[in-house]
Assembly symmetry: C2
């Protein structure tokens, strides 16, 4: 399992449309065979700061995700709403190790 | 649901013991009534950078967690292994909204 985290800072006034775009992307992503989780979060003390928490079964699954229509649509749609370039980081999972934990 | 994220930078050589301490803390935390998730991650391209992803049912559950013996033990044990102060951020959940998604 690989967890890919994405931090996004959104310009003021675009929080609502950004959230909706992420929920659409999530809907498609959760149907991908290699995706196990896609959480959309908004920082409590900073509504312009969003966090996507995505779990995939392999590096190939991450790559496949980035070629899907829902991801590409999201990427292009949200681009003008970003206050700064988004920051993605890839993680090894220490726990939970069982697939049922995802 | 509230998601509490913690970023920890660990000094070189302490990655293994830090991971073990987090797994112990996780074991106790997952038994708390208000805890729904506790993922322990290590950044793929930076083994000294860890990420804890904790989901709680309420602010009270977060507070209760910080008073548990397993949390206090973890906090004191890992303190000398940190390369810089750890950074915690609290999040509102946009998705998944159903409790079964956690």
């Amino acid at each position: 399992m690989i967890v890919y985290c994405v931090e996004v800072k959104v310009i003021s006034g675009k929080e609502g449309v950004f959230e909706q775009a992420c929920l659409e992307n999530r809907k498609g992503t959760r149907k991908e065979e290699g995706n196990h989780r896609f959480d959309v979060l908004q920082q409590s003390d900073n509504p312009g700061s969003f966090f996507l928490y995505e779990a995939y079964s392999s590096p190939e699954a991450v790559k496949a995700h980035k070629e899907t229509p829902h991801y590409l649509k999201w990427r292009d749609l949200v681009a003008p709403w970003m206050a700064e370039p988004r920051k993605g980081t890839s993680h090894r999972v220490c726990a939970p190790l069982e697939v049922s934990g995802w």
